[in-house]
């Protein structure tokens, strides 16, 4: 097995031993229960309330859970000095980052597949639109995982890493809206907002929620551009991480 594969395998084993991992089950049950509760809040649009809640909550739960896993896993290795046991082996730091990335991507994709199966079973939308939506969501998760690795390895502190990842997610989801609002309300702020717009990822690309909920047209080609975009942004994050930890003594 390659060195990247070994890092991935041991990361998965460590995650399985972590108590945090088993919090996924109550989180999933909570998301499902809240979606059913939302269905009961409306008399005429109960189905729509359920569908909207299911999609929003599954995305929120997956993101929050995977990000916590990434941050806690990397932070624990730095804090307990276990990372020295890894980086003193004949293993480059790039391989270490990439191995971690692959392991957490497998977890994120597995959770996404579970939620996709749930959506299909509960009839949240058509199979094609759901598949496209959750595929795009998987790409977003990969960007967020690499961002969480970069931020945690860079900051090396648990609270600031969690805040950093949350900030990255929020800014990533609102870059376009910020520029739009700035254009209308405060022209002088637009150049500054454009900096965010060009530096942070536009995570709103990774969303076909309208196609699922409004039964709109959707095609497999809709995944094409976001895939290219996600690949480009993953390279950017990987380069930032590599430049940052190249000669770091942790």
């Amino acid at each position: 097995m390659s060195r990247i594969g070994i890092v991935s395998l041991y990361t998965l084993q460590e995650v399985r031993r972590d108590r945090l991992f088993w919090s996924l089950i109550p989180l999933m049950c909570g998301a499902l229960a809240l979606s059913f509760f939302m269905r009961e809040t409306s008399v005429v649009a109960g189905e729509e309330a359920f569908n909207r809640s299911y999609i929003a909550l599954t995305m929120l739960v997956t993101t929050a859970f995977v990000m916590l896993l990434v941050v806690s896993s990397v932070y624990r290795e730095i804090d307990s000095k276990a990372i020295y046991m890894v980086i003193t082996k004949p293993l480059s730091r790039y391989e270490y980052v990439f191995g971690k990335f692959i392991a957490f991507s497998i977890i994120a994709i597995a959770i996404t597949v579970i939620f996709l199966s749930g959506a299909l079973a509960l009839g949240v939308g058509t199979a094609k639109s759901l598949a496209v939506h959750y595929s795009l969501f998987g790409l977003e998760q990969m960007i967020m995982i690499m961002a969480a690795l970069t931020i945690t390895l860079g900051l090396r502190s648990l609270p600031s890493s969690i805040l950093g990842v949350a900030g990255f997610y929020i800014i990533g989801h609102s870059t376009k809206k910020l520029v739009d609002i700035g254009m209308q309300m405060a022209q002088e702020w637009v150049p500054l907002l454009k900096v965010f717009y060009y530096l942070f990822p536009s995570l709103s690309f990774f969303n076909a929620q309208a196609a699922v909920l409004e039964k709109g047209l959707v095609s497999w080609a809709d995944i094409l551009f976001p895939s290219v975009y996600a690949g480009a942004y993953l390279v950017i994050l990987f380069l930032i991480c590599v430049i940052d930890i190249r000669k770091r003594d942790f």
Binding site: Y198, G216, A232
Partner: protein
């Protein structure tokens, strides 16, 4: 003179990062044009639950709606303002 490995990490990686960021800016611009042309704003929420705004990840529709109603110089359509008979020639 830095070693060959150092040249890659000290020179190539930062320049590659700059190039990728320029590429990213291009993709963002292209992508948004593509998305806006292909999927224009067409979603109108039918629920009257204020707190749905808190849990929905699709915040754009709420921002757009509140933004339109608060800051738009155009008056709201008569259908939304509740004047019966003004909405179209048929009703009138």
């Amino acid at each position: 003179m830095p070693a060959k490995r150092d040249i890659i990490s000290k020179v190539l990686f930062p320049w590659l990062l700059v190039l990728m960021l320029i590429g990213h800016a291009f993709l963002v611009n292209t992508g948004w044009k593509y998305v806006e042309e292909k999927k224009p704003y067409q979603v109108v929420p039918t629920l009257n639950l204020e707190w749905m705004k808190l849990i929905s990840l699709d915040q754009e529709r709420f921002v757009s709606l509140s933004f339109r109603s608060t800051f738009s110089l155009q008056p709201l359509p008569s259908v939304m303002s509740g004047t019966i008979g003004d909405c179209c020639p048929t009703c009138a």
